[in-house]
Symmetry: C2
Subunit: 145 residues, 2 copies
DNA sequence: TATAATTAATTTGAATTCGAGATAAATTTT
DNA sequence: AAAATTTATCTCGAATTCAAATTAATTATA
C-alpha cells in the first residue's frame, strides 16, 4: 500500500465490486418473478412497513418523485398495490399493498432471503458480524455528508 | 438476530446502503466535471490500463455491447478518446485515450481519490484493512457464481 | 383575509442502459 | 473452396431513471 488514500480507493473498489456482483444475482432473481428491482423495493417496503405516502417512498428507497409515479403506476396496473387518497390532506396519496401483493411478496421474500444467505456463505457468522459493524459505520458517516 | 439468514440479509442491506451513499457522492463529483459515471469508468480504464478493444471494456466495467458503442461515441465526440482499427483483426476496434483525455483525467483523478479517502475517514487504517479483506472474500465468492 | 411560500404528486422530455437483431469479418468445419 | 460458426461492433426499440416544469393543496405571513 503506497499511502492511505490508495487504501481507501481499494476499499471503494472492493465494495463496489462486491455490491455489484451480489446485486446482479439478486436482481436476476427478482426479474424472474416479473418485477424490476425498484418495484420489488417499493412492494417490500409496503409489505414490511405498512402504507406509505408516495413522497416518503422516495426518501426511503432513494428515488426521484417522478420515478415514484412511474413505478407506482406499474405496480397498480399489476394489481399489487393501490392508491388511497389521504382524507386529511388532499395533496397526499397513500400507497397500500393489496392482498394479491401480500400473497406475492409473502411467497417470494423467503426465497429472496435464502438466496442472499447463500451468496454470503463465504463468510462465517463472526466475519459477517464484523463486516456489518464496519460497513454500517462507514455508511452512516457518509449518509450524514 | 433471529437466525443466520436474517444476519445475511442485514449484511446485504448495510452493504447496499453504504455503497449507494458513497457512490452518490462520487457520482456527484464526476458529474460536476461533465462526465457521467460510465464515461468516467471507461476513461479511467484506458488511462490506467492502456488501449482496450471495445469488447473488453464491456467485460471490465460490466456494460452491454450496445452501451459501449454509445459511451465511446460520447467520449469521442468530446475528444477524450479515439477509435483505432486493429490492423490484425478488422472486426476489432481499440479505444485509445487522447492527450486531451489524459490531461483531463490526470487533473481530476487525484481529487477523486482524495474525496473517496475523505468519505472513508470514519474507519481507521486497520478497520479498512479488515473491511477490504472481508468484502473482497465476499465479492470473489459471488463473482464465481 | 389575501398573498406568498412551501409541499405533494404528476407530467414531460432527455439521458442512459439493456437486449435483440443486423452486419461484417474471421475462423473452423466439411 | 464453400458453408457454418464464432466474434465484434453497431442499430434500434423498450425500459428506467432523473430533472424541470406544472398543478393543486396547505401553511405562514403581512
Amino acid at each position: 500500500m503506497t499511502n492511505e488514500s490508495s487504501q481507501s480507493l481499494k476499499l471503494f473498489i472492493v465494495l463496489s465490486r462486491a455490491y455489484k456482483a451480489i446485486n446482479e444475482q439478486v436482481n436476476k432473481f427478482i426479474q424472474t418473478k416479473g418485477l424490476n428491482p425498484t418495484e420489488f423495493a417499493v412492494l417490500e417496503l409496503l409489505y414490511h412497513k405498512g402504507d406509505q405516502p408516495l413522497q416518503q417512498i422516495g426518501g426511503k428507497i432513494l428515488l426521484a418523485s417522478g420515478s415514484i409515479t412511474y413505478v407506482v403506476d406499474k405496480l397498480e396496473e399489476k394489481g399489487l398495490l393501490k392508491r388511497n387518497a389521504c382524507p386529511k390532506d388532499r395533496r397526499v396519496t397513500y400507497a397500500q399493498i393489496t392482498e394479491e401483493g401480500k400473497t406475492f411478496i409473502g411467497e417470494i421474500f423467503p426465497e429472496h432471503e435464502e438466496r442472499i444467505h447463500d451468496l454470503m456463505s463465504s463468510l462465517s457468522h463472526d466475519e459477517k458480524e464484523t463486516a456489518i459493524e464496519l460497513i454500517k459505520k462507514l455508511g452512516l458517516s457518509v449518509g450524514k455528508y
